[in-house]
Point group: none
Chain length 225, copies 2
């Protein structure tokens, strides 16, 4: 069963590991075993950073460095990487210690996003840059296509945060309320709450990030009105 | 004369450019011309990050991710890169606008370190990863050899405190702004402020300690820049 899932994962990664142990290590959280994925994550984070930098450099020849940096941050961040992990159904393949398992570690953004980076680090070690570029292209393609450098820089979450900070109001909390659909067609519902103002609004989107932005936008409107 | 200097530079880089215009662009500050080096710097920063990550990953197989991250930060930072720029005599090859020239831009750490990154980005564009690895090895070899993972690198809070004390500036205050998530998945947001300098930055982390270090790191960068 796990064999089949590992095969399916590698299909989606557009890469089949020479050394399957590297893949298994990439899927192992530090709570589960000594040969865990943290060092691979260190490497993968750097590989991903370069590959996305190069994609943006080539795709947007007229954009200045600051814009490239912000676009990269919008692609490579915890919530996007966790979304990708969910698209890959990584949660069910993760090796976690019993404590992490009980507390829902296989659904946690931080663990999921670190695992994506570890897998990319493992591919890089197994086969080098070109193979890793192929995988990154497969995973990020649709997101890169949606990038629009003309879009206003400050997103709703940032605007909301700055508005609240300037008034010394505690920052909002974001919670995933519901995830529906599967694989490549998931829909996220996220709430944005400011407890001290007794304000809550929900946002819906194809990624957690988008849903959070939607929720933040509505709260911002409520706060400003 | 400049020809000879450019040749000597390429000898020290262990790389001779196919496309000499890329090298010239890497040496051009944004104050001097439209075809300046900022986009190359964006790319070079990412390339350098990966290459040094891989060197450390291979050289220190027993070191955890946190140690690798700190060692990389001790190699790849503004002052080290500026030192390397001086070893390469980059200052005399820089194209600067007249304002920057008058104010000593060719000696400024920020401009020098950005130029080193831009050159690495240019080599990567011109010839790919392997060529850039050779250059990075040549430039960083002696520094990598001196790394000792058993040496405690001072954390950001300590560095910030010592920096401020040496200048008799009152110490920063740390405040928890927000705690989100629950139980095993809490996220802390902490601000670090130096009232007398009117500087504040926030840090986020899975523990208050990590968030404080993050905030301190950012304030340190603001203070040093």
């Amino acid at each position: 069963m796990k064999e089949i899932k590992l095969k399916n994962l590698q299909k989606r990664l557009v890469y089949s590991f020479e050394n399957q142990n590297l893949l298994l290590q990439a899927l192992t959280h530090r709570s589960a075993a000594k040969a865990h994925n943290e060092r691979l994550e260190f490497l993968g984070d750097a590989v991903l950073g370069l590959i996305v930098a190069e994609i943006l450099y080539a795709k947007f020849p007229a954009q200045p460095e600051g814009k490239l940096t912000r676009m990269r941050a919008s692609l490579v961040n915890r919530s996007t990487l966790a979304d990708i992990a969910r698209e890959l159904s990584l949660g069910e393949l993760l090796s976690l210690g019993s404590g992490e398992k009980k507390s829902g570690g296989h659904r946690r953004d931080s663990i999921l996003s670190d695992t994506v980076e570890a897998i990319l680090g493992a591919i890089y070690l197994d086969a080098g840059l070109t193979a890793t570029q192929k995988t990154v292209n497969a995973l990020f393609n649709s997101r890169v296509d949606k990038l629009d450098p003309s879009v206003q820089i400050k997103d709703s979450k940032t605007q909301l945060q700055e508005h609240l900070q300037s008034r010394q109001i505690p920052l909002p909390t974001y919670d995933v309320i519901n995830i529906s659909g599967k694989d490549h067609a998931q829909t996220f519902e996220v709430s944005c709450s400011i407890a001290s103002l007794d304000i809550t609004a929900n946002g819906i989107g194809q990624s957690r990030r988008i849903a959070e932005q939607q929720a933040a936008k509505q709260v911002l409107e409520m706060v400003l009105s």
